[in-house]
Subunit: 450 residues, 2 copies
């Protein structure tokens, strides 16, 4: 019985995630020397993962897949420049990824495609016995979140959501502070995705980045991403904010999200951008964008914490994920870079700069790998999230961000849409662990390794 078969059997027998870590200690074997990866989707985002793979001496790129020939060519060039061998190419239409995942020279598949393709591709990879890594958000519908979980539990193939913000140096330092009780008992968190995407949602690939096209006439993400702003009103991109907060609050491991309410402002930003840059007679000025400019979601947690989550992508602003972590003994805020710890901060009721605290509680992972992360480009977080996937494959263990995280973080989108459609009524958030949150142990940020 090889290792993969064993993992599959263990999965069928029950709680894989809780069994595996101890088993991997028991049957301590040498990690794989090499991890062989395939990439589905090698657009801008996929190629930044390719860059991490090329930087890693323990990774082989054996196959790439994309429907866009130019993306394939750019990627082949990118690989060729490093002197590494050319991967097999799968570019024969939208279903060719099904052929790629069957290859027996792949340990893991990394998926960076339009959101609606994430789950079909992830399921195919898992069913083919491969580790799957999927970009954020992992799923679009509630059923897709269940499909991820069910397929993991059936096949034993792991799925990691590539939530790079979980590895941001500040939020990992805060994670360490939270776990060491520096903020006391946690009560509250804020987070969000506040990023002016108007120039990305509306982009013709020329026009000095103020083109107002999307869909067929669009460029890059505007080809597919913008349609979600036409069709959906909800927090359609929740995980950059929620991922780190979920780790702070031990979601799926001793805690879970119970319900949410969502409320949306009117929709103005995208239409205004089209009129401002394309004129009121531009055909897209007639498009009715369903997405409110700002969507606020409030999540109740089983252990009594609240999370405020903001989606704000259609308005002029500076980028901020609006993190705030608060407990019975202190509060950290990303906007303003401030912290206040009772009995520690020198002046009562007066917050102070967070930098010394973030340095003091620098996470061991960053302490050890900061230099490598820096050399790998992209500010470090892409290095760590990629290494998390690779190292878990090498050790044949569960990834540090797992299928249950992928399922519930992503599910906030359809649940938020539901709440807004029902006039901000509270909507129950499913427990994708089916009760295993009671006994599941922490898996993220445990040590300096990955």
């Amino acid at each position: 019985m090889n290792r993969r078969n064993f993992i599959q059997k263990a999965a069928l027998a029950g709680s894989v995630t809780s069994i595996l870590p101890s088993l991997s200690n028991e049957f301590q074997t040498k990690p794989l020397d090499k991890v062989r990866l395939g990439f589905i989707g090698v657009g801008h985002r996929g190629r930044s993962h390719i860059e991490q793979a090329l930087f890693s001496s323990d990774v082989e790129i054996n196959a790439i897949c994309d429907i866009d020939p130019s993306a394939i060519n750019i990627t082949l060039d990118q690989i060729k420049k490093t002197g590494k061998k050319a991967p097999a190419v799968y570019a024969k239409g939208a279903e060719d990824f099904l052929n790629m995942v069957k290859r027996d020279d792949l340990d893991g598949i990394l998926i960076a495609t339009p959101w609606e393709w994430h789950v079909p591709m992830t399921l195919a990879a898992m069913r083919a016995g491969k580790y799957a890594a999927v970009e954020v958000s992992a799923t679009v519908t509630l059923q897709e979140s269940w499909d991820l979980v069910d397929t993991f539990e059936k096949t034993g193939s792991h799925c990691m959501i590539l939530e790079n913000v979980c590895y941001r140096r500040d939020v990992m330092a805060v994670l360490k502070m939270v776990r060491e009780g520096v903020l006391g008992e946690m009560t509250y968190a804020h987070c969000g995705y506040q990023h002016d995407l108007r120039g990305i949602k509306l982009n013709d690939g020329k026009s000095n980045n103020v083109g107002v096209e999307f869909g067929e006439k669009g460029y890059s993400e505007s080809k597919w991403r913008t349609q979600h702003s036409v069709d959906r009103n909800g927090d359609i991109y929740p995980t950059h904010g929620l991922g780190p907060v979920a780790h702070w609050l031990d979601i799926n491991r001793g805690n879970y999200f119970t319900y949410l309410t969502s409320t949306a402002t009117k929709s103005r930003g995208l239409h205004k951008y089209i009129v401002d840059h394309g004129g009121k007679d531009h055909p897209n000025a007639k498009v009715n964008f369903k997405l409110g400019d700002i969507v606020t979601t409030v999540i109740q947690c089983h252990n009594g914490e609240n999370i405020v989550l903001i989606h704000d992508t259609n308005s002029p602003r500076s980028y901020s994920l609006a993190f705030r972590a608060q407990g019975t003994e202190g509060i950290w805020m990303n906007d303003g870079n401030s912290i206040y710890i009772e009995g520690v901060s020198p002046k009562e009721h007066t917050s102070e700069p967070d930098a010394p605290y973030l340095a003091k509680y620098d996470h061991p992972l960053w302490k050890k790998h900061a230099k490598s992360a820096e050399n790998a480009g992209h500010g470090g977080i892409d290095y760590f999230v990629f290494r998390g996937f690779v190292e878990s494959i090498k050790r044949k263990t569960a990834p540090p961000i797992d299928v249950y995280d992928a399922a519930v973080w992503s599910a906030i989108s359809p649940l938020s849409e539901m709440s807004i459609a029902r006039g901000s009524s509270p909507v129950e958030i499913p427990d994708f662990t089916r009760g295993k949150w009671k006994t599941n142990k922490r898996i993220f940020g445990l040590n300096e390794d990955y």
Copy 2:
């Protein structure tokens, strides 16, 4: 027919607030030289209004009322030191205010008492034909908000809520920016009351401010305010945040609050404070505080804006009212003191310090009166809110913050309690103007006068 009778008749005839400003122009008469005030409640807060009155050469203090003899004595001393004549004293029990409001040498009554006394006292003042000014929050229950409105419409006696934060220099500058369209069309606002009140809610008047008593053994506000944290779970102090935001969004004047959802965290802070400072065997360690440490309320507005309102009074933190004003062309944030205006801020997607903008859009009221406000003490806002009341009496016109504002801002508390009790279900917010929001014109911050 004297002026007061006229006002009363006009009120009976219909829309007083919209009629009065134009009438007061039409029948332009010289404002009163003197305004004669009575004060109900001369504790810490009442005496700070007394201080403003003593600073004002156009104000006579003719009567004071309190059930606490020491408050009366301190106030009499405070007045005596300025050489002004001693006021009549009403201190014969909880109902003696009913005698005071009958005096015919009073134009206005200023009320700074425990919340549950606000409305009975305000109604008595209004029914006695006096202008009433009431501290925040004006009301505790929804019925009380209706009582204020109905009594105004029946008597024509005005009621002003003393929401001093409306006059904060930064939020008034932002008001000017909003009205001039600098932020574009408004979509979103944040605000809240984030103030560590543990040492106020739990205070025995000695013990170096870490006594853990309240109620009968309590000192000052802890005598009565703390019980609200025992009995209620909701945003029990919403107006400091909501007042300025309501002005930004023209609530009651072209816009109104439609519904809200509220969500509360677990309650930890007050109990922990008692145990930390009084020991786990202190009798108050057995008290079950119903109020969640942090309560988040999301308000939907008729014109499509959303407001996020936070109540955070039981946790260690620095003071912040968490203001954020956002529109289709820019965003201002109080935490971090930042602003970003599209096409104006020098670097795209990069916020900048707000100070130059706050200076540029300094409100005319502040420009004209900053020096007097400074001389009057208390950082200016108490000066302006007091002057707003006095000047409207002098002109026999509606105050700049009116009974409808008092009613709806304060009503957020019971509505928020309702939502939390119903698992964060959306709760409709009554339109206290009964449709007059459609035609009501702005009354706040219109000019440099008051």
